[in-house]
């Protein structure tokens, strides 16, 4: 847990002339809030055990905290107590140090964005009116609301022409964007999101998740995000609170910590047997040290190329064009001619430096040579990625678990790269 929340710097996180003016007049673009739950407890009448049991955690300002757990773990109850949609039995909920029970519920909720799975748009109001709900409750001027609506439609990637339509005229994904826009309308310091992308098809969900993360980079809101989907939790969360049935906090950690060191059996099972693989979704190619590769051009003498390969970590030469963009891999057969002909080689798997490791790993596995070429934004080759490199990244880091074992004997077979369908490496050197 970081000691002091980093407040988003600078003025309005949503730059706009109107926004700036309003911000001054209405004290908007408030900094994100710090949320603290202390011993939060709730038991529904007639139930055997509590729904939420002495839940304590702190969400630093500007971070996404995901409540995740199986059904009946109290994650939604915990979230709904924050904006007082459900009354707690005991404990404290502090928003920037102030208990939410000291506030009028309606007033409090106008400062807390609220997004639910069923979206809950007002069917009788236009998109514009839906988005402007909270600003109009807060008494903004009409012109300000209209300007803000346009700004938000733009922000969530909807055509401004949608403003005058009704929710029934939008697709599910579009409605959810409106739901997010409505929640963001008055620039709330805290956002509550209950399975916001749960009812949307997987492709649209993935896109909305990515867009939302991009949005959050600029907005820097504090967000409590509820989901039952551990993959979504890992993707969206800066921190993840894993709750177990009965509303007990099982672990509160960053996604990497959670995957690397589950606190107990429950968390380990919940996170899944493939937790090491899930870490692939966390890292990016740019985090890794890349392997150097022998780059050759059309027309280079084959003998020279062979000599360059001696001892190289990547046993194939990469043909590149004049701008250093990858063209093809060559194998021994391709080098029978005197000179290099790039068009003879096999296809190159190319990954961006921004790509997540999961996608990069997939590219590596699909490549005939089991290497993927990493390129910069201009498409220039900057290095090569192997399955080994990615596997190394997934191992526990310094001292967290087992140290590297010393090999018992030299000459054990190298575990990778001997694929029957791949061309044989020309020269493995002394490896």
């Amino acid at each position: 847990m970081s000691p002091e929340p980093a407040r988003p710097a600078g003025p309005s996180p949503i730059p706009s002339a109107a926004g700036g003016a309003r911000a001054g007049a209405r004290g908007l673009s408030r900094p994100a809030a710090r949320l603290e739950l202390r011993e939060l407890t709730k038991q529904y009448p007639g139930e055997d055990g509590p729904a939420v049991d002495r839940l304590s955690l702190e969400v630093p300002a500007g971070e996404i905290c995901v409540f995740v757990g199986p059904s009946g773990c109290g994650k939604t109850t915990a979230m709904r107590m924050i904006n007082r949609m459900i009354d707690r039995d005991s404990g404290e909920i502090l928003l920037d140090g102030r208990d939410v029970n000291d506030r009028d519920p309606s007033e409090l909720r106008r400062e807390i964005g609220y997004v639910i799975q069923q979206i809950g748009l007002f069917p009788h109001r236009t998109i514009e009116e839906n988005i402007g709900t909270v600003p109009s409750l807060l008494g903004w001027k009409k012109a300000d609301i209209a300007a803000r609506t346009q700004e938000l439609l733009d922000l969530v990637g909807l055509d401004p022409a949608f403003a005058k339509r009704y929710p029934a005229q939008l697709s599910g994904g579009q409605r959810q964007r409106v739901g997010v826009a409505r929640a963001l309308a008055a620039d709330p310091p805290l956002l509550l999101m209950d399975e916001p992308f749960g009812a949307i098809d997987p492709i649209t969900r993935d896109r909305l998740q990515n867009e939302f993360l991009r949005l959050q980079k600029t907005l820097g809101r504090t967000i409590v995000f509820v989901t039952h989907d551990i993959d979504e939790a890992i993707k969206m969360g800066d921190r993840i609170a894993v709750l177990r049935t009965g509303g007990r906090l099982a672990q509160y950690a960053t996604p990497a910590e959670l995957l690397l060191a589950p606190a107990d059996d429950f968390v380990e099972r919940f996170v899944g047997a493939d937790r090491a693989l899930k870490r692939l979704a966390l890292g990016r190619v740019s985090d890794l040290d890349l392997l150097p590769v022998v780059k050759v051009h059309d027309g280079d003498p084959s003998d020279w190329v062979r000599s360059q390969l001696a001892g190289a970590p990547v046993p194939y030469p990469l043909v590149v064009d004049d701008d250093e963009r990858p063209v093809s891999w060559l194998d021994a057969d391709d080098l029978r001619a005197d000179r290099v002909v790039g068009a003879e080689g096999s296809d190159v798997a190319i990954v961006d430096g921004d790509a997540v490791l999961r996608d990069a790993f997939s590219s590596v596995l699909q490549s005939r040579v089991r290497f993927a070429v990493v390129v910069d934004e201009r498409g220039k080759s900057i290095g090569v990625l192997s399955a080994d490199r990615i596997a190394d990244e997934l191992l526990p880091r310094d001292g967290e678990q087992q140290p590297d074992l010393a090999p018992v004997a030299d000459g054990l077979p190298t575990p990778t790269l001997d694929y029957p369908d791949a061309a044989p490496p020309f020269d493995r050197g002394t490896k």
Binding site: M85, Y114, I116, I119, G120, L121, L137, A168, Q169
Partner: protein, 246 residues
């Protein structure tokens, strides 16, 4: 006025002192004397029907408006205290089952003959339809809409007036339409309570086609007119119900 006055149709009709009924003997062999459907007679005597039509309209509209105010208030009261929905429904259901004529009888000692008696009975009759209509409308509001409305900070009052009632409008207006057409029909009995209306005309001479057809058509026209007004009101107030996948 005595109870006896109500006891037979004949004595009631006798009290219809307008005396507009034709002197058939003077015109033997004519359409009118044959009790036929006579456009000429209708054209000449139409003026005699405008007064009863007006009374009929006032009876109907007053009953529906008062009935709606009461039913709406009951529905709102039952919103916070859900356990009242059952008793309110049963109560209005009992009122609904009392035959209108019997209601006039029962009311005579209390309210006497006239407009008030007719209205009390007609209003009582609308309550079940209107109460159920408002409740159905309010109950049809999607729970997620209510949850979201509270969640973004609407107060209970704002939730009711800005979200629930607008969304309940289609059902509320549907109930108003049913209540109105029912009341137009029942109001033809109002003259038994001495409240006039087109019923007075119909029962004054049931054998004369021109009379019966004209009075009945005016009833139908009144019902249709009210229906049209309500449909237009609904179209004006609920544009969202027509906005689908433009």
């Amino acid at each position: 006025m005595s109870l006896a006055g109500l006891s037979t149709g004949a004595s009631v009709i006798a009290q219809d002192g307008s005396g507009f009924f034709r002197d058939r003997a003077s015109d033997a062999g004519s359409c009118v004397s044959k009790n036929g459907f006579c456009p000429d007679w209708i054209a000449d005597n139409f003026g005699q029907y405008t007064g009863p039509l007006q009374e009929h309209a006032v009876l109907t509209v007053t009953a529906v408006v008062i009935g709606f105010v009461i039913a709406f208030a009951l529905a709102l009261i039952a919103e916070k205290r859900r356990w009242l929905v059952g008793p309110f429904t049963q109560l209005s259901g009992i009122l609904y089952t009392i035959p209108t004529l019997a209601a006039f009888f029962l009311l005579l000692p209390i309210t006497g003959r006239g407009f008030l008696t007719a209205e009390v009975a007609l209003v009582a009759y609308t309550l079940l339809i209107l109460f159920r209509g408002v409740r159905t409308g309010l109950d049809s509001v999607p729970p997620e809409t209510v949850d979201a409305a509270k969640g973004v900070g609407l107060t209970d009052r704002q939730l009711m007036w800005q979200v629930k009632l607008p969304l309940a409008l289609p059902q509320i207006i549907a109930a108003l339409r049913v209540a109105s057409s029912t009341t137009v029909g029942l109001a033809t009995l109002a003259f038994f309570a001495g409240a006039g209306g087109l019923g007075g005309k119909i029962y004054a001479d049931l054998t004369f086609k021109s009379n019966v057809v004209l009075a009945s058509l005016l009833c139908v026209a009144l019902a249709v007119a009210i229906e049209i007004v309500l449909v237009l009101v609904q179209r004006g107030l609920t544009p969202w119900t027509r906005a689908v996948n433009a």
